[in-house]
Symmetry: C3
Subunit: 348 residues, 3 copies
């Protein structure tokens, strides 16, 4: 795709300062963009690059004031990130989807597949599964018995959806994620050995959910594991049996949530966070990366940090002292010596 | 499956209080069960739900005393969880297995496959591999040269077993786990670059082992990585080269064990735990979630917590003070001021 | 392979003390090697095993002095690990590669595949992809549109390379890793819902890079994610959009690096480390396992530990006090009591 700056400004309702007729072939970052690329200035800390960038044009906030002369063309917009999103959408092609249903698939006669679905080679779909309108299933994926894939959802190559799971519409599930693996449930017998408890529940995923690559979302033991509408999960995340992740909650990579915990809506969970089982995390909770949450949150909107997690600001205050603990120890030793001296004096 | 409460009570040798002839169609959790479902009361904290549940029947401990009137039918049993296990086994169908050996597989002529094995489409089995009686290999899995899959073991879709690995009997390996990837071994050359050390060992997995989804178990560099009989591993776990995981040890999701460490039997390792290499962890050790174990354990039965991990109770005691470090700092400052005053006084 | 000790000594230019004509069938560890195996003594803590090992021969350092009588044959070499590497290379066969291009592949007519490439069954290669000389792609892998796999690179079974990614030459990517999944980028709309930002960049991987099993390396949002020449990544690692991992940097299992962070060359990053986004980590930085790096490093060669990470030695010093915080608390209480007594005395 090659378009003029003018055309781009129209797309995002921007105002041009510079060359209206220059050609743009794609997006680039302000610090390393090449000629022909369109860049943007969002975070002010990148402003110095604006004066040296090779980008042909740069999106800036409407009221931005340049402090030095510019050689690039500016496109002023009311919201840089919004404009950028519109442009990326226009430029991006994404992974080419299968054009139809491959002849090299294994679809059970008792599966129901909408004719508008597009399905890549080597996909297997078991009996009783239902693939709805506009679904794209890339090659090498697996859909288990009785599972449902909702309208316009896309499964990237290698996704495994086991039996009895329900995925909403307009979802995206990235490569090699596993939905509906067994929950981790065992009972100990008299010899200290573990015997498997059958995991009879499913996984229910709402609409507009995105799940990253190589995630694992276990089925419920009894009743379902739930990822509610609009939730966004990054890569390598573990969601255990019977967990609920609330609406529009965002979870960063490598976090894990243990069995039966209920996470509210609009939460932000940092990378590598662990949450123990059977807790309740209220709406709008923010959990700092690597924290280990060991008790239910007390009110919505809390910010948590540490292992076990406490309030974010308290953790940082305590950690500031922690960094100086050797010095603090020396002060205590010095106090003890002073006291000894004073005791000797007062005994005279 | 639809059965009467009477039939269920017979299966678990329970005693009915209520409607013997009501129909049960499946299991449900006491807090959200619907009519027609059978639920259970294990953890006493769920007792309030017993008085409001929609479940048609509820399994309770033999000697349970209700404190309010009930509308549900009770089935009294000697061990609720044991009874539940029996019932889930009866209700559960699980992922339908392939009915035979698919025609769309790639089985080398020099692989040995028992005719009772069932193998899904797009499975590849290399030369010298041996698939024993009753094995189920779901679609899209891979078995490398010389690897052995023991009797009645099941590999879920997408499992990759590389060459020279041995999996015991009655094991379960969940989707997209990788067994026998190379250990992470390099030597640094004079230019500070890393050169690969060939990884010549294998992975040996005992009987009755369960391994979750998206795990990685590396082959030994020299000699084998071992997961002993009855061990249970959750999802997204990393087991490095030459590690031994002892019998009946349980490891929660996202834990990682570095090279050559030997974990004893009957240990409980929490989620996101890391254990550094070349350690020895004795039998019956409990390691709290997110701990980082940096030294060998001293005796069996220890409970560990923290990074680096210390005794569980010591960590909690220290952490209790940590949470109040700013307050402690103020007390030290106050002591210093008092001492100054006393020194001035005593100099008079 | 069965060779004499003499032949082995020639391969590694070693000097034999013992039986030149004994036969060696493979490598073994000194602590559990069997007759017919060749072992080595690298780490001196394993020396006791030398006097009891069943190994037929053992590689030792040239100037090693035995302190007890030996029953095994020694092969003295200038560098034990170097010699071992040479021998493992000779003994190892590795996962058998496909012998040619399988007939059961899905290669788009517009993909370019060098005839010397070997490609296993059920591999899919999209339009515009280029597979160079000597590449080995094991079964069940996926190569997206416009992606390039450089000379002699090997992709193990189940690897998914999405579109627009470039992998260098002589790379190894282990099973089920995903390269080019979408970066985790969303913008919040007025209703607190997240809208996907298209991820238009790619992933660029240099030469001689090794990436473990079940890793996830996201494409850049705008511009590319980069793993530079010679970098080595263990299993289950998360690399977010627009990250750069510098040359010859080594990252242990389960570490994660958040978006746009630039890690220098020759760094050592421990297992389960997390690094937040938009940081710069200088060359030769060492980060201890499980650390959480929250700010850019100040100079090259730093050693970091803790969450948030501080200098390694400071963390250990503070942690030593942390372990005794309850005792320290008692000392403060005792000081407070002493002060009270002294104040009373001085008021008399």
């Amino acid at each position: 795709m090659e378009v003029t700056v003018e055309k781009i400004a129209q797309l995002v309702q921007g105002r041009i300062e510079g060359n209206h007729q220059a050609f743009i072939i794609g997006p680039g970052r302000i610090e390393d963009a090449a000629e022909g690329q369109l860049s943007f200035l969002g975070n002010p800390k990148y402003e110095p690059y604006l004066y040296t960038t090779q980008a042909t044009a740069v999106l800036v906030q409407e009221n931005f004031k340049a402090r030095k002369p510019l050689s690039t063309t500016l496109i002023r917009v009311p919201d840089v990130y919004l404009a950028l999103g519109i442009l990326l959408e226009a430029f991006d092609s994404g992974l080419p989807a299968p054009t139809d249903i491959s002849s090299q698939v294994f679809i059970d006669d008792e599966a129901e597949v909408d004719p508008s679905a597009r399905i890549g080679p080597n996909v297997q779909i078991q009996a009783g599964a239902r693939i709805e309108k506009g679904v794209v299933i890339d090659g090498q994926s697996f859909i288990g018995a009785q599972s449902v894939i909702g309208e316009n959802t896309r499964l990237y190559p290698g996704v495994k959806i086991l039996h009895g799971c329900s995925i909403g519409s307009h979802c995206i599930i990235h490569s090699n994620s596993v939905i509906g693996s067994d929950g981790f449930g065992f009972s100990k017998n008299g010899k200290g050995e573990f015997e498997k408890i059958k995991q009879t529940g499913g996984v229910v995923i709402g609409d507009n959910v995105e799940i990253g690559a190589n995630c694992t979302i276990d089925r419920g033991s009894i009743g379902d594991t739930r990822i509610e509408t609009g939730a966004k999960l990054d890569n390598l995340i573990q969601i255990a049996h019977n967990v609920t992740v609330g609406k529009h909650t965002v979870i960063a990579a490598q976090a894990g949530i243990a069995g039966s915990t209920k996470v509210g809506s609009h939460c932000m969970i940092g990378g590598q966070v662990g949450i123990v089982g059977h807790l309740e995390i209220k709406d709008h909770t923010h959990i700092q990366a690597q924290s280990g949450v060991a008790s239910s949150s007390k009110q919505s909107g809390e910010k948590l940090y540490g292992t076990p997690a406490i309030s974010y600001s308290n953790y940082l205050r305590s950690y500031a002292v922690f960094r100086n603990l050797p010095e603090q120890m020396r002060r205590i030793q010095s106090l003890e010596q002073e006291i000894e001296k004073l005791k000797i004096q007062s005994n005279h």
